[in-house]
């Protein structure tokens, strides 16, 4: 298991506020070069770097690769030793959306920050003399309880199925490692020549791990919810359907076009998946500036939604606008088309469109099922294997990267001692999830599986 190094000044990052949706969040960094590293993702970097400490800087977090602004933030600069940890430090005050926070932390890690271990900031503060001696015991307790908490969290989050799956892959890699190590630990003539390293089992492990990584999206959806938005022409019945989902009369439903001028959002649960459901202003030509603004915002929400429920007025049939959208989006997974008002008309429902009635509720449960399986890409049941923590995903990705290194080295006929280095990295990563693999474990495996020794 990777040792937590509690006394270094390498740059670390962690979310300082609770991991939940909120108005504001604070991301804290500490360590050598924190200001310079942070400046690489900050729009106002020149001013930031000049700071002598205790200054606030306004600007954007920028994804340099995609040339994209991620969030509007203020950043506080601290210079050593005048900070919480006694080290150079930047604190970032950002918006409290979970995907946004995650993206910022990912960007910071890309430029060289490491995710902090449990209690690592406090530990550094103590080691740098930022706390008096009487606080030492308290620090110890904090470090302990945090790591215990982190430990139990990690375990609770990992369902038995995922644990077993990762552990099975790990065991296969231990076997692979044994095949390599036995050839490194014994000369050719004692083990009857070379044993080929089965590269297909490396490929297989990579595939399995990648499958697991893909479940992260699904796991995350369960964990944090997902944005679903209504779209469609005015008066198609979006708000009525929205209310049906809410099972409460929240948005204003009227026969007059354009009642929903802005958008309305609510948290609901569809087959256990937390969903942020948005009812948007109808898409139509409007000239009132307030309506125009509402439409602009609606378009923004629709663009960012994981699933768009496009509602068609079944009593009218497809309008030209409906047809255009249907032709454009009908083949993809992002849009689901709903044929509303089947109680009012018996027009033939086109293929690939869900017939429902917001008034009678007919077809509604089928729609719910279709939405949830559309969201997860899987049939939803409680026993599906999913990973849902960023840490797990990172470790699995590290393992995959290491195994790809192994694959490449084997293909290039790199010598086995170097191959072993990559494989060890992969095993260490999986070991952090399901338990460390020591050199003694490998030797045990060798002695039980190979008849070796003069």
């Amino acid at each position: 298991m990777e040792d937590y190094i509690y006394d270094t000044d390498d740059p670390i990052v962690a979310l300082a506020t609770a991991w939940s949706e909120s108005a504001l969040a604070v991301i804290r960094t500490s360590g050598r070069g924190s200001v310079e590293l942070f400046s690489r993702v900050f729009s106002n970097s020149r001013e930031l770097k000049k700071s002598l400490g205790f200054t606030l800087h306004y600007g954007y977090i920028v994804d340099q690769n995609r040339k994209k602004r991620i969030d509007q933030v203020t950043a506080a600069v601290y210079r050593a030793p005048k900070s919480y940890t006694g080290q150079e430090s930047v604190e970032i005050f950002c918006h409290g959306s979970l995907p946004g926070i995650e993206l910022i932390i990912t960007l910071l890690k890309d430029v060289g920050f490491r995710e902090a271990g449990p209690g690592e900031f406090t530990m550094r503060a103590f080691l740098n003399g930022k706390m008096d001696l009487s606080q030492a015991e308290a620090v110890a307790e904090i470090v302990q309880s945090k790591s215990r908490q982190a430990h139990s969290l990690a375990l609770n989050r990992l369902s038995g199925g995922v644990f077993d799956r990762i552990d099975t892959i790990k065991k296969k890699l231990v076997d692979l490692m044994s095949i390599i190590e036995v050839q490194l630990d014994y000369p050719d003539d004692e083990i009857g020549g070379d044993t080929a390293v089965p590269s297909d089992s490396v490929l297989h492990a990579i595939e399995e791990l990648e499958t697991l990584i893909d479940t992260y999206r699904v796991g995350r959806i369960f964990h944090e919810g997902v944005v679903v938005a209504f779209a469609g022409g005015t008066n198609a019945g979006k708000s009525s359907l929205f209310n049906l989902f809410l099972k409460e009369d929240r948005s204003i439903v009227s026969e007059i076009n354009g009642t929903t001028r802005d958008y309305i959002e609510s948290w609901i649960s569809i087959n256990g998946i937390p969903v942020r459901l948005f009812d948007t202003a109808g898409l139509r030509n409007a000239d009132h500036p307030v309506e125009l603004e509402g439409i602009r915002r609606s378009e923004e929400i629709i663009k960012n939604a994981a699933v768009v429920l496009y509602v068609i007025d079944g009593s009218v049939g497809m309008t030209d606008e409906d047809l255009k959208v249907f032709q454009e989006k009908g083949k993809g997974n992002e849009y689901m088309f709903i044929w509303n008002k089947i109680d009012e008309s018996d027009k033939t429902v086109p293929r690939g469109v869900f017939p429902v009635s917001a008034v009678t509720g007919k077809g509604f449960s089928d729609l719910e099922k279709a939405i949830s399986s559309g969201l997860t890409g899987l049939e939803i049941s409680g026993s599906e294997l999913m990973i849902d923590s960023l840490r797990q995903r990172e470790l699995l990705e590290r393992a995959v990267a290491a195994l790809k290194g192994v694959k490449k080295s084997l293909a290039n006929k790199v010598s086995l001692d170097a191959v072993a280095l990559d494989l060890k990295d992969g095993l260490d990563a999986l070991g952090e999830i399901t338990g460390e693999v020591s050199s003694e474990d490998i030797l045990n495996n060798i002695f039980s599986g190979f008849c070796v020794g003069k």
């Binding site: 509690y6 449990p118 080691l127 030492a136 307790e141 215990r148 630990d185 014994y186």
Partner: protein
């Protein structure tokens, strides 16, 4: 005071320990049960092997003797695993075991400050406080005083030899065990356990039909283990390979009840990496044959060693199963195979200096600590000798870290984790093995040997010249471009390297330094060894840099020292399991503490906080 230091035992640990102490200027007494048995190769007649060969070279770099002994007595040499990467290549040599033993005796006999004496130690003496060693008491009643005692008793402490139903109190077949010493140590409160190891039969060469075996020659060129030597001029003789078969296995299976291993007579753990033939037959029933290396024990000797089939079956069974093996149909056994069970000291009772935690001035090294192998014993003996001398000089002990030497890995594993079976070194035990190449042992350790006083100025200067030379070669390779005029004498396909630097070209797996040095005569002016060292450094640069980063982190934790008298009972908030383990092991550093099995990361963090606090209180 009669002597500064007493070394008990004349095996491979005892040799290094007594030479190191006496060479550092202390009056030394080696007590052995048999002066004729000094440096005897009790098991296979070979020195070196994977990771073990590295250890021999480490011993040499620090100023030990083993490399010089084998260089002068080898009768076959091979570099193992040439194809598997430099980190795991190592030299091995067959030894003329009679010559080896005689040269060891001769070397010790000529050493200034060193007195050899034949007797058997039965008791370790301590001063009135009971905490400092004061000397030894022997079987014949000699009471000899010393400031430090180094115990290297090998398999002799209450040793018991087994051959089928036959049992005898012996440390080696035909040599009496050392009785009483184990009880004396137990009486002092030390924890001792039992371990087992075994050897195969030695058979007469004249009774073998070598035509039915495969000949296994050595490398055409013998290379020295010692960094002080450039070449070896010794005769080279071949080994032979043959195999057991199903008939052999049937005989063994039928007679299994007569093996002391399976009848329950032997309680000690044997080495799993070196199982007896009985074990191989039982544990791997699918294997229809097992390999045997037939190795000469010396030039001018009839004895051949049957490596790979150690056994403790009765002599009649041994003869019967040997005769089923091709080439051994008319075999005559000269010495039967046997198992030996002996007392070992739980090595977690030692500091990494190999001094016991209980008795100051008492050091333990070699097989007594639960290891196996001549090389493992030698490096411990050397370190115990060095640390006993440093103690008498009131200096800090020399602890080799895990990133610096296999010797360091070995001792750290022993004193931190203990061992359940005879501990043998494997390359996979070293997490930084790319740094522990055998050809770099001098760069790693000669400066330390020089600082301690075991290496001369001349050796140190020679090392510095080598380091400079290697840097020059690397600089040359880094600056030299592949020119079109090179292509005439370059191997086929080298045109794709045009315009690239030699250092870059060398990183291709299919390019070697010889191909490049042919194009650049300035390279060939350097010694062969330096050139290949540079080649490996360049080829593995990426991996080495990666490893160095890990080493950097590792060293940070190693440098956080924990005082010997640190009171773990004062540390609140750590688990009781961790506390008990920390109290037992008394780690010297946070790094060592973190390697104790079952001590949690969070407990280590708490410990660091407390350490910082107690340091501040002292300030």
């Amino acid at each position: 005071m009669d002597y500064d230091v007493i070394v008990i035992g004349g095996g491979h640990a005892g040799i290094e320990a007594s030479l190191a102490v006496s060479r550092l200027g202390f009056s030394t007494l080696m007590i052995t049960q048999s002066l004729d048995a000094i440096g005897r190769l009790s098991c296979n007649p070979a020195i070196g092997g994977l990771s073990k060969g590295n250890i021999v070279r480490e011993v040499d770099a620090l100023g030990g003797e083993m490399a010089r002994l084998i260089d002068a007595t080898m009768i076959q040499y091979r570099t193992l695993n040439k194809r598997k990467g430099p980190a795991v290549q190592a030299p091995r040599a067959q030894a003329d075991k009679f010559l080896y033993n005689r040269l060891a005796m001769d070397t010790l006999g000529r050493q200034a400050n060193l007195v050899l004496f034949q007797d058997t130690v039965v008791e370790i003496l301590v001063n009135t406080s009971g905490r400092d060693v004061s000397g030894v008491l022997t079987e014949r009643g000699n009471r000899i005083n010393a400031k430090a005692v180094i115990m290297t008793t090998g398999t002799f402490m209450d040793g018991r030899v087994f051959i089928g139903e036959y049992q005898a109190s012996s440390g080696r077949l035909g040599e009496p065990a050392a009785l009483g010493l184990g009880d004396s140590l137990r009486g002092m409160g030390f924890v001792l356990g039992r371990m087992k190891t075994g050897t195969p039969a030695r058979v007469a060469a004249s009774s073998l039909n070598f035509d039915l075996m495969e000949e296994q020659p050595g490398d055409s060129k013998m290379l020295p283990f010692s960094f002080g030597k450039n070449s070896i001029d010794r005769p080279s003789v071949p080994c032979f390979i043959t195999f057991t078969n199903e008939k052999t296995h049937t005989i063994i299976s039928k007679n299994m009840h007569r093996s002391p291993l399976y009848s329950g007579e032997i309680i000690g753990n044997g080495p799993r990496y070196c199982p007896s033939l009985e074990d191989k037959v039982v544990r791997f029933p699918d294997r229809n044959r097992h390999q045997i290396f037939v190795e000469p024990e010396g030039i001018g000797s009839q004895e051949m060693y049957l490596n790979g089939i150690s056994t403790s079956l009765p002599e009649d069974v041994q003869e019967a199963f040997l005769r089923t093996i091709p080439g051994l149909e008319d075999v005559r056994i000269m010495r039967p195979g046997y198992a030996v069970e002996y007392d070992y000291m739980d090595p977690t009772q030692l500091y990494p200096s190999l001094e016991t935690k209980k008795i100051s001035g008492l050091f333990v090294a070699g097989q007594t600590n639960g290891t196996s192998g001549y090389e493992e014993a030698a490096c411990q003996g050397l370190m115990a000798g060095i640390n006993a001398a440093l103690k008498l000089q009131s200096k800090d002990p020399l602890i080799l870290s895990r990133d610096l030497a296999y010797t360091g890995v070995l001792i750290d594993d022993l004193v931190t984790l203990g061992t359940e079976e005879p501990y043998r070194m494997f390359t996979s035990r070293a997490e930084y093995r790319l740094n522990l190449r055998h050809d770099s042992a001098d760069i790693r350790l000669v400066p330390l040997g020089y600082r301690i006083g075991l290496q001369s100025e001349e050796v140190f200067d020679r090392l510095n010249k080598k380091i400079e030379g290697i840097e020059e070669i690397k600089a040359l390779l880094a600056s030299r471009y592949m020119k079109s005029s090179d292509l005439d004498s370059a191997p086929e396909g080298f045109s794709r390297h045009l315009g690239k630097k030699f250092g870059q070209i060398l990183k291709n797996p299919d390019v070697n330094i010889d191909q490049l040095s042919k194009l650049e005569p300035r390279i060939e002016e350097y010694p062969r060894e330096w050139i290949s060292h540079s080649e490996l450094d360049i080829k593995y640069e990426g991996y080495i840099i990666r490893q160095m980063k890990q080493v950097e982190r590792f060293n940070k934790m190693e440098k956080k020292r924990i005082p010997r008298d640190f009171d773990y009972d004062l540390v609140e908030g750590i688990s009781s399991e961790s506390r008990e383990k920390l109290k037992k092991i008394k780690p010297c550093s946070i790094g060592q503490a973190s390697r104790i099995s079952g001590v949690r990361n969070s407990d280590i963090a708490v410990l660091m906080v407390m350490l910082k606090r107690s340091n501040r209180n002292e300030e």
